[in-house]
Symmetry: C2
Subunit: 354 residues, 2 copies
């Protein structure tokens, strides 16, 4: 079942030509473009084998062949001929991201813009899940009696606001006390740690402590709840119109619909969140009707070895992988680097205090 050298060679040539032209590829073309010097007739024999094993398909009898999903998968898994991005591109991205200043929100938004422009595809950047990020400060503001806004500031200037309904007797002074307490006890811990700690305290508090303390804990619990509206930065949507002559408009429309349905989108992207390094999902391999002619390439970015966010692009199955894959990879790597630098920076600052 596995392909020998020549079969693979032919398959790769077909994939490359198909990506370039969007048209079925004939034996003549393969014969000319491939490195093995064989006549079209010989190529045809090999192509017949490949077709039998479903690596390639024929739109109709007298047409050339196009790679099947299986064919694409084989091509992608062997990841040959990736372009090496010139060092200056790497430098350009890095400096563009650093220049966004200390606000990581800006950095991520900028990363998405850069990625779409160097890949010429739709780019997605998901903001970090905050489990593993340390927080610096919490603040409660009484919007009106019974209504509090909590503001949680984390490393790198990531902010999470939440509006929380509370007991209407809670006063501004109470809130100051709460926040002082929390800032003193939990500052510098990760959200995950804080949450765990708060839950255990709530259990104990049921019996031992006074009412005010319980209210504080409940307020804290709600504030530190995992953020369910993680943001997704989307850029370069107009690139989907490239080569739209060959594209089914209904399918294009589905992509746009998906991009707006953030929950569905996140469900798809989350699959790649835990994987190490880059992953490539072919729409047709998964059961996504929305992306049947499209491919998602993702790479997580990480903080201290934990994946916290994701960089991806969505493009047609026949996109230029050799350029796009390195771009996604690079962007994720640089983001990781930036996050870790900031983390290091702050860790030094925190250590002496602790």
């Amino acid at each position: 079942m596995t392909l020998d050298q020549r079969q693979a060679d032919v398959l790769f040539t077909i994939v490359r030509c198909y990506i370039q032209s969007g048209q079925p590829v004939g034996s003549r073309t393969v014969s000319r473009k491939s490195s093995l010097n064989l006549s079209p007739a010989s190529i045809r024999n090999i192509m017949a084998d490949l077709a039998e094993d479903h690596y390639i398909e024929q739109p109709h009898t007298s047409a050339g062949r196009i790679p099947s999903t299986k064919g694409f998968r084989f091509y992608l898994d062997s990841k040959l001929d990736m372009e090496i991005l010139p060092a200056e591109v790497e430098e350009k991205i890095k400096s563009a991201l650093i220049s966004t200043g200390p606000d990581l929100t800006q950095t991520l938004s900028q990363a998405s813009k850069l990625l779409s422009s160097i890949s010429n595809q739709i780019s997605l950047v998901i903001t970090p899940s905050q489990h593993n990020i340390r927080w610096k400060h919490i603040d409660f503001i009484l919007l009106r009696p019974g209504l509090v806004m909590s503001i949680l500031v984390m490393e790198g200037g990531i902010v999470q606001n939440k509006i929380i309904t509370v007991d209407s007797e809670i006063t501004v002074d109470d809130l100051v006390k709460f926040s002082n307490y929390l800032n003193e006890h939990y500052q510098g811990k990760t959200l995950l740690q804080v949450r765990a700690n708060i839950f255990s305290q709530i259990k104990r508090a049921r019996k031992r402590f006074n009412n005010l303390y319980q209210k504080a804990l409940n307020l804290a619990r709600e504030s530190f709840e995992p953020d369910n509206n993680r943001q997704v930065y989307v850029d370069g949507t107009h690139y989907l119109f490239q080569d739209s002559e060959f594209t089914d408009l209904t399918k294009m429309r589905e992509v746009f619909r998906l991009l707006e349905e953030r929950s569905k989108l996140l469900k798809i992207l989350d699959q790649t969140m835990e994987s190490e390094g880059l992953s490539i999902l072919l729409g047709q391999e998964q059961d996504w009707q929305e992306l049947s002619d499209y491919t998602v390439i993702s790479s997580p970015y990480s903080l201290k070895g934990d994946n916290i966010g994701l960089v991806s692009i969505i493009g047609p199955t026949r996109m230029n992988y050799s350029r796009v894959i390195p771009a996604v990879d690079l962007t994720a790597r640089i983001l990781s680097q930036l996050f870790n630098e900031i983390f290091e920076h702050n860790a030094e600052k925190n250590m002496p205090k602790a």
Copy 2:
């Protein structure tokens, strides 16, 4: 130059039919669809007049007529046959917006989603410019020496963060003093008022006050700077693919490109910001290459009579105005109402204190 009753009648019928079908409209069709009972031949005479005055155009000799930009403008300015949205739709929107709770950011995002789904077009909602909104609270957080995050919370839970570089000698205690001072003196004022006041104080402070005070003022000045990244909520992009048989893909692509270029988009939309009530901009009347086949319908929402934000839709010039216009209008009205309710609510709370 102005049209008489019959000419207008014929023009309206042509516009209506063209919107419905997307095809040139012939005299037969007009004769059947219009209320005046005239034969196709008579209609043709009237159509010849209209064509001479450039209200309608002919793609080629033997085709029907399509409304010109001038024709559309005439139709839109007389705004007949607007659908009356059933009261239950109004109720549905209202309750859906109220149910988003006290967080106005959520409310606006939801408004955009609702508008796109009832209009079947791309919807845009611009977050309020904060000049006329009162602020409740300011907070400074020392991210690291020399780097401060300011958090400005306004009426309705609108939050504006800004990261500001400062003198690296400023301490956490200084920041607490600053924020206490600002909160005491300026709470409840509008951003515009605060800014004016701060500027005048800075001038005086140059001579009279100590260094710390000047630093505080400078920090305040930067925090209260008008927010240059006003958000735009965009929804329903996939509706652009409706009737895409008749649509030029290059032009569609330009729309998507424009939607991502927020500064350009805002420049276009800001034109309508100051107008009273609904405005309709035909892409071809303006000098926007990006929107040559599209129309922007906008209506500002207001707080205490001042326009603070904008609700719009972007759709093809031949969209169903009779449905879309009331939808935009209604959404803006409901938003104004909600904002004013919240304002009233808070005003009552603020009054006794002041």
